[in-house]
């Protein structure tokens, strides 16, 4: 039997967008607490968050065909609290409500009146959404590539990284002066892909040595098999290493003039776009490369 992945591109988009939205809100909350003068960057984060998460949820409903045809069935989503997906629905529902309230208040010019605790609660829920996207896959015992404690952490780091990249990307074009003043935020963002590299390496080493040979097969799919080009070239090189090198050049090796020049901004924008591409590629690869334990059992 050739194994067909259960979930494909649509779910990869959903995992990516939900993580991006949660990360963007958490990023905006961080900015609010650390650099409240960056009102525009904060606003971009608050707008990006509900939009991306809602697009992701619409994709998800579209993919759940039986529910899409009978929308009332989505009510049942709150019935089995033993399911990670049910918890995800709770987190996403509360998060979307808070994110929408915050976004609307900000757009109405009441950004500074938003209580800090609302930003903090929204940020925590945003992080819950990011972690949830990893736990959703993590509890499927069938797939060694998913069924480990590293995946939710990897998805969290990647999600916050993409969320912050989205804020910075919009900031470069819409509010370059604030982008120049958000050094603290940019440095935080810089370290995430490096952390992610270590997490990915750990995930590969641990999964390849999983008790089930499907772990080895999944890792081989990524590092030396059908998906090796996407893994090494798009995810590792373009999605993690190139942004790290570009940002390192911009943040630590360039003069202020270069960093704040138009060229400098374009380099930062390129790096942020690559982070986003890498984030999506990671989720798609994790979905399609995972092999089930029963595929490679001796009885097969």
């Amino acid at each position: 039997m050739t194994f067909e992945p259960v979930w494909g591109t649509i779910i990869a988009w959903y995992l990516f967008l939900a993580g991006l939205g949660g990360g963007a809100f958490a990023g905006a909350a961080y900015l609010r607490l650390r650099t409240p003068h960056c009102v525009h960057l904060i606003r971009y984060g608050r707008i990006i968050a509900p939009i991306t998460v809602i697009i992701g949820l619409v994709l998800l409903m579209f993919d759940a065909t039986a529910g899409f045809h009978n929308p009332l069935r989505f009510v049942f989503l709150l019935t089995n609290f033993g399911s990670v997906m049910t918890w995800g629905v709770v987190f996403l529902a509360v998060f979307v409500v808070i994110a929408l309230i915050v976004a609307i208040m900000d757009l109405l010019g009441k950004g500074l009146k938003i209580p800090k605790w609302l930003d903090v609660v929204g940020g925590i829920l945003g992080i819950c959404v990011c972690v949830y996207t990893g736990c959703l896959l993590g509890v499927a015992k069938t797939f060694p590539l998913w069924n480990n404690a590293l995946l939710p952490v990897l998805f969290l780091v990647s999600a916050v990284s993409t969320g912050m990249a989205a804020i910075l990307l919009v900031g470069i074009f819409r509010s370059p002066s604030e982008f120049n003043k958000s050094g603290d935020f940019k440095k935080f963002h810089f370290y995430l892909p490096i952390f992610e590299l270590f997490l990915v390496a750990s995930l590969m080493f641990i999964t390849a040595n999983s008790a089930e040979s499907a772990g080895w097969t999944s890792v081989m799919n990524l590092v030396a098999g059908d998906y090796s080009l996407a893994f090494w070239l798009v995810f590792i090189l373009l999605g993690l290493m190139v942004p790290t090198i570009l940002e390192w050049k911009m943040l630590f090796m360039s003069t202020r003039e270069v960093e704040e020049s138009r060229t400098g901004h374009m380099i930062s924008a390129a790096s942020d776009i690559l982070v986003l591409v890498g984030g999506f590629t990671l989720r798609l690869l994790i979905l399609v490369a995972a092999m089930p334990i029963t595929m490679v059992q001796p009885w097969m």
Binding site: M1, F3, V6, W7, L60, D63, A64, T65, A66, G67, F68, H69, N70, R73, F74, F76, L77, T79, N80, G82, S83, V84, M85, T86, V89, L136, L137, V139, A140, K141, T142, F143, P292, I293, T294, M295, Q297, W299, M300
Partner: protein
């Protein structure tokens, strides 16, 4: 209460797919929807080689991973330990398909809901269908259906005699036993 199970004797199976077709007819399944998946492998070494046919279907696990992850409660443990998918409740998120270690769940391409082997004998009480047709239709008598809690049933006696075991050890608490 009965605890229904099945025995599949792969040494008798000739891989004719009759069970699968009979199941599709009895349950009114779509042409691309089958509850029984066939796997084949070569066993033995030359010159004594044969092909082993392994029909796989829902194992009706007592610790059903599909029911654990199903967010809507559509996949659940029904009467007599039969793992059931409530077709009117399923949203088609496919989480159960990701959780099932045997890859024996299928999506109905018309409704989008997920479905699988229903151990029809038991559903007969509701729908009036006859005994599992996969058991009746099998040309070589490779399948036996019965109550695992009834020590006098043909099923329990044959499991003991043939030393039949679940297909993947104790991966889940499977109620389908295989003779290999």
């Amino acid at each position: 209460m009965a605890r229904y199970g099945m025995l599949i004797d792969t040494t008798k199976c000739i891989g004719c797919y009759t069970c699968r077709t009979a199941c599709q007819r009895q349950n009114g399944l779509l042409p691309d929807e089958d509850f029984i998946r066939f796997e084949q492998r070569e066993v033995g070494s030359l010159p004594d080689v044969r092909v082993e046919n392994v029909p796989l279907q829902c194992m009706h696990c007592e610790d059903a991973p599909c029911a654990q992850v199903c967010p809507t409660g559509a996949a659940h443990m029904g009467a007599d330990g039969i793992v059931t998918v409530d077709q009117g409740r399923c949203i088609g998120c496919l989480y159960c398909m990701a959780a099932c270690p045997y890859q024996v769940r299928v999506r109905n391409s018309r409704t989008g809901a997920v479905d699988k082997c229903r151990f029809c004998t038991v559903s007969a009480e509701q729908t009036g269908t006859k005994m599992c047709t996969c058991v009746e239709a099998c040309l070589t008598g490779a399948r036996i259906f019965g109550d695992l809690d009834d020590p006098d049933s043909q099923l329990v006696r044959e499991i003991a005699r043939t030393k039949a075991a679940p297909i993947a050890g104790d991966l889940t608490k499977s109620k389908v036993f295989y003779v290999r």
